[in-house]
């Protein structure tokens, strides 16, 4: 039975190594299913969160074995919230977005991380605090896992 009407919080503290992305994905998949998110919504959340964690590991902590990434997942009946915090020097998100679809820009190898996080969530924000960058995202729960609207 799902926990649609309760609140659950989980904190993952992972090393700066991409192999731990699997643990983040597994946590999201299990928790979101318990809270009756549809599989599409779970995949959206997971895609956005994997992107945020990848950025934290690669660009924030630069794969440093001395630095950690802290992922906080909160579910309630209506929404999923996550924050990802690294220990890096910060990053200017505003200059890192490829939105032009003309051929030279389309061939750019960078700038799609924010596009992915924004597309698969309902809100995306970032701030620098406590010696690291926080990326915060949310996804509203629409309908039940059966795919039927909740109303």
């Amino acid at each position: 039975m799902g926990k649609k009407n309760s609140v659950e919080k989980m904190i993952l503290n992972i090393p700066s190594d991409l192999k731990f992305l699997g643990a983040v994905d597994a946590a999201i998949q299990d928790l979101a299913r318990e809270f009756l998110f549809s599989q599409d919504a779970i995949n959206d959340v997971s895609t956005a969160l994997i992107e945020a964690c990848s950025n934290a590991i690669e660009h924030g902590n630069r794969f440093s074995p001395d630095k950690r990434v802290v992922v906080t997942l909160t579910f309630n009946g209506d929404a999923f919230y996550a924050s990802v915090k690294d220990e890096g020097p910060g990053f200017d998100f505003s200059n890192a977005l490829v939105e032009d679809t003309s051929p030279p820009e389309l061939m750019s190898e960078r700038g799609r991380g924010i596009m992915i996080m924004r597309a698969f969530t309902d809100s995306l924000a970032w701030r620098y605090a406590d010696g690291g960058l926080y990326v915060e995202l949310s996804k509203l729960r629409r309908g039940d896992a059966s795919g039927e609207p909740s109303e």
Binding site: D17, L18, K19, L21, G22, D25, N43, S46, T47, I50, E51, S54, N55, E58, F63, T101, L106, M107, S108, E109, R110, G111, R112, G113, M115, I116, A119, F120
Partner: protein, 116 residues
């Protein structure tokens, strides 16, 4: 990530298995591709059927490989992407860059047709 190769018609199919992200997986894909290009291969089909996820770094490697092969007169197409990966290609507009195919037959045929 594991990469296996097989030749079908005029194309080389690379079956990727695992996660296409940065780090060692990215290095393996980049190096494998470079070696194959150095050997003269130009027509590539990337089979994403067993790729569980891809992130923006993985997309960057796909784009880099695509750019290199196009520069040398070849092509790189993608096949059997899961719904999840298809949607990532769509939101990043890379569906406008790569030809994507649902099955192997059509992907292979695209090279035969372009050679005519």
């Amino acid at each position: 990530m594991k990469i296996t190769q097989r030749e079908v018609g005029s194309a080389l199919i690379l079956d990727l298995n695992g996660k296409l992200t940065g780090g060692p997986d990215a290095d393996l894909f980049r190096e494998t591709f470079k070696t194959l290009m150095d050997q003269g291969r130009r027509n590539f089909i990337i089979n994403l059927e067993k790729v569980t996820w891809i992130n923006s770094t993985g997309l960057g490697i796909l784009i880099s490989n695509y750019a290199n092969v196009r520069k040398d007169g070849g092509d790189l197409v993608v096949m059997r992407a899961s719904e999840r990966i298809e949607s990532i290609l769509y939101v990043t507009k890379l569906n406008l860059l790569f030809k994507t195919f649902e099955n192997e037959e059509d992907a292979v045929k695209s090279f035969t047709q372009s050679a005519r």
